[in-house]
Symmetry: C3
Subunit: 139 residues, 3 copies
């Protein structure tokens, strides 16, 4: 019998950059009792985003963070800087990555590949608490 | 009892750039009678895209538009220009943003954050009418 | 009566770049017997991605491939290069495009626009076999 489950995760990164929370997501799915279905994660912010990336190599995370600092840099003459120099780059880096991810669920687990982890990509230096809405439908 | 609702919105931006249509989406959800579920928006084009961004500060929109004009510029020696100089940049800006967005629905509303609005990102100057397919599943 | 269907497609591109597999997706939807619903595609890798793009003009594909080679180039002094010079650019190009796509289904077909095709965007030169998880819910 198809049914739904939902929750909101509150996550605070320790610093700007990639913050993995795959385990929190897997716990939600396992606790739901739903075996097969579709999981959706939605980041309720415009200055932080979601990304699925390499979960093993810290060097890959450093390169990824450095890359987005380079292609959407601070101090590029933005009109909008109400909240400081990391304000507009945060919006741009959010636009270039993902606000939402959906992942099929098989055998009570998100069907991630071997090397895939789910990350919050925090783009602000003051690392506010972020809300990630989770929705699961299946049976 | 889980069920589905769907529609297609026809939207025409007044100029290239960000065009908010959060209200149209909220009306569809409210009218569906579905209280909790998952909403999906799908842009049926390759030269316009979807983006969730800051809904309050016009300066942030200007910076966002200027940024994409800069990183995927016109006149960069593209092979493909059947429809003019804004043709290929439109495909590139679409690839860098989103063709599809899914948003959990709670209490008859998309669970957007306080500062999040839903925008069509029109990349063509002649601003053709665009079709956004909406799908909602829930109960 | 709402129900689910799922499968995993194994796809191997003949070379790095865009590889269309719209037909495989349409066959899965048609064979499922589900008429109206929501289709989700999920790429189980961090060095290949999904993209919906122009399905008619080869020149647009060439420009798209050349663009991502330019904005996320090889040899840019990356820390992570365990698997060679195309390793880290592959992760960056994946981050800039999509790991997942959801498409509403109408009349037994994904509701793609006239010019939209579904592509695997292979970012590695050795073109490993890729797994794309497909999930469909509807009735």
């Amino acid at each position: 019998m198809l049914r739904q489950a939902s929750t909101t995760l509150s996550i605070r990164a320790s610093r700007a950059g990639l913050h993995e929370f795959t385990d929190d997501v897997q716990h939600f799915v396992a606790d739901s009792g739903i075996r097969e279905g579709l999981l959706t994660l939605f980041c309720r912010h415009t200055s932080a985003s979601l990304i699925i990336q390499e979960n093993a190599a810290p060097a890959a995370r450093h390169d990824l963070e450095a890359y987005f600092e380079r292609i959407a840099p601070e101090g590029a003459g933005y009109e909008h800087d109400d909240e400081g120099p990391d304000d507009m780059p945060a919006h741009l880096r959010t636009a270039l990555t993902a606000t939402q991810l959906s992942i099929p669920v098989k055998d009570r687990r998100p069907a991630l590949g071997t090397w895939q982890g789910i990350f919050l990509f925090e783009h602000r230096r003051n690392t506010p608490e972020r809300q990630i809405a989770l929705h699961l439908i299946g049976e």
